[in-house]
């Protein structure tokens, strides 16, 4: 039996959930048993109607205790579902929150943790995974025994297709003392954009060379035009021009879109760790010696304030053609 913890936004499954189902099915082929799902938090009951098309059973954990996320509560819920399902392996999204609760679960289950994996599979009673390490510069293959907790890097895995109707089973999870030690006082919702940065096919990132917060309006326009998301470098976040949630790099988000625009940024190693697996990298910088050019497929040496407006016009022409 394989348990897949399904990420959702309260009304529908996220893309990462369907990546998780694909991974779960692949593991179950060898480990045996069904793939079961778990939905936690507000909206789980509604989303279960969609989710049951992908797995044989959907556990839902809802109620006042699960209105807000904490690593302790989510790990507890996943532990309860893993026990109810008799799961040998648990698959979860390697989102920021996913990576904060899965280590707790692995410890609870005395399981191996395979973190932020690109692919995963089972052979006999062992599980294997590939992942990046050393600031995204090394590809490694890991092996572990069962049970195992596997987190799935976003945008690495084909989305699962529906496979018939499963059942829905509400699971009641009682919180202990540990799960009541964190109190959420305030949510800071950042209008980060319409497209999720880690799931976007196009990412347009601006660096310090943009010069001002206002200059990012141009980046927003370009990203909107391409249906992409806006990213920013650490320097831009420090300057207060953009919110933390848009930071790309070792300490921000890791993205691997089809096309990555690096605009007016030099390309420090820490930044590259967040984007160096993008399919096509495009740089614009006025400094011909900027390190980012060596890491790019295409580049323009020039002033971003002149080049970017022209790029916007060219894309508009292309779209209307």
């Amino acid at each position: 039996m394989v348990l897949v913890v399904l990420d959702h936004d309260g009304s529908k499954l996220r893309k990462s959930a369907l990546e998780g189902v694909t991974r779960g099915r692949k593991l179950a082929e060898v480990l045996g048993g069904d793939v079961v799902g778990l939905l936690i938090g507000p909206g789980a009951d509604a989303v279960a109607e969609e989710a049951k098309n992908y797995v044989s059973k959907v556990f839902t954990v809802t109620g006042a205790d699960f209105e807000t996320y904490t690593a302790e509560k989510w790990a507890k819920a996943a532990q309860a579902a893993a026990a109810a399902a008799g799961a040998k392996a648990v698959v979860a999204p390697a989102s920021r929150t996913g990576r904060s609760w899965t280590p707790r679960l692995a410890y609870k289950l005395d399981a191996a943790l395979l973190e932020d994996t690109l692919d995963s599979w089972a052979e006999g009673d062992k599980v294997f995974a590939t992942r990046y390490s050393f600031l995204n510069r090394v590809l490694e293959k890991q092996a572990a025994g069962l049970p195992a907790v596997i987190s799935v890097k976003p945008n690495t895995t084909p989305l699962a297709e529906p496979a018939g109707a499963g059942t829905v089973e509400p699971l009641s999870v009682e919180l202990g003392e540990l799960e009541r030690k964190v109190e959420v006082l305030e949510k800071i919702v950042e209008s980060g954009g319409k497209v999720s940065l880690t799931e976007a096919d196009v990412v347009v990132t601006g660096g310090r060379g943009m010069g001002s917060a206002e200059a990012f309006e141009m980046i927003e326009e370009f990203a909107d035009l391409l249906g992409g998301a806006v990213g920013a470098t650490r320097a831009v976040i420090d300057a207060g021009w953009r919110p933390y949630s848009e930071q790309i790099g070792q300490t921000g988000k890791t993205v691997q879109p089809t096309i990555y625009f690096a605009l007016a940024l030099s390309g420090a190693v820490q930044h590259q760790a967040g984007m160096n697996k993008s399919k096509v990298v495009v740089a614009v910088n006025k400094d011909p010696d900027a390190p980012i050019f060596k890491e790019s497929d295409y580049g323009v040496v020039g002033d971003v304030h002149q080049v970017l407006p022209a790029m916007i016009e060219e894309v508009k022409k292309l779209k209307s053609a």
Binding site: R104, E140, I188
Partner: protein, 252 residues
């Protein structure tokens, strides 16, 4: 109060790494205190300066980790405890060992870096918290003590939130939490005399690694590096760029 930073020694991101026989070979690579752990060390030193108490650094790693620990001591931490073990040990197993030391130290606040620059792992803080039965707050960008509890701001997938946490608890550091200080010369001199207690991981009765690294390879994508000069005619360069993306790369 007592504050602990869990630290690690990692390759300097700017230095080259190589693979020998299917495994990363770090001989000859410059090793440093993980830059993410610097925020953790800085935070516990500040806590000690503001509220009194003791700032202790704890690590799990090979003998050479002592160098990184000396850097933390030179920044201003009081003493260190190093659990020594050779080779790769996964974070869940490390957490079990660290928890034994931390349970004895009984700190109020534990900080560590949000992500490790060698294993690219985010697990150590959360796993250690679980091993101790303490809460964890990841990617902390602001922290203060308030009436015996901690008030912290931390990053989520989208946006952030402010939480109040009962202590003891574990926090992982995000960039922006503070501005880590550089060790001063007197600090470096003093650090040489500060205590580092070493414990063999085997003495803690913790099992071997649950995860094995079967094979590693350097994975740097080959880039085309087609650079257009747009210094004189930016509009023409932009047109050429978009054409290349559309017709050659076929991504637009």
């Amino acid at each position: 109060m007592k504050y602990v930073a869990i630290i690690r020694q990692v390759p300097d991101g700017e230095s080259k790494i190589k693979v020998e026989g299917g495994q990363v070979d770090l001989s000859g690579t410059t090793m440093i205190l993980d830059q993410m752990d610097e925020y953790a060390v800085e935070e516990i030193i500040r806590l000690k300066e503001q509220h009194d108490g003791e700032a202790v650094v704890v690590a799990f790693g090979p003998e050479r980790t002592e160098e990184a620990m000396r850097t933390a001591l030179a920044m201003g931490a009081d003493r260190g405890v190093l659990i020594t073990a050779a080779g790769y040990v996964d974070p869940i197993t490390q957490a079990a060992a660290l928890a034994k030391v931390l349970a004895e130290e009984a700190p109020d606040v534990v900080f560590t870096g949000g992500q490790q620059a060698d294993w690219d792992s985010q697990a150590l803080g959360s796993a250690t918290a679980e091993a101790l039965g303490w809460p964890v707050i990841t990617w902390t960008t602001a922290f203060e003590l308030e009436d015996g509890k901690a008030k912290a701001t931390h990053d989520l997938d989208e946006g952030a939130e402010v939480v109040r946490v009962e202590l003891p608890a574990v926090f992982t550091a995000q960039q922006g939490l503070n501005e880590p200080r550089y060790p001063t010369l007197p600090g470096i001199m003093k650090a040489k005399k500060k205590e580092i207690k070493k414990i063999d991981a085997a003495e803690l009765g913790v099992g071997g690694s649950k995860v094995e690294i079967v094979e590693q390879q350097i994975m740097e994508l080959e880039r085309k590096v087609k650079i257009i000069d747009g210094t004189k005619e930016p509009a023409a360069a932009a047109a050429e760029l978009i054409k290349l993306l559309h017709e050659e790369a076929k991504v637009l």
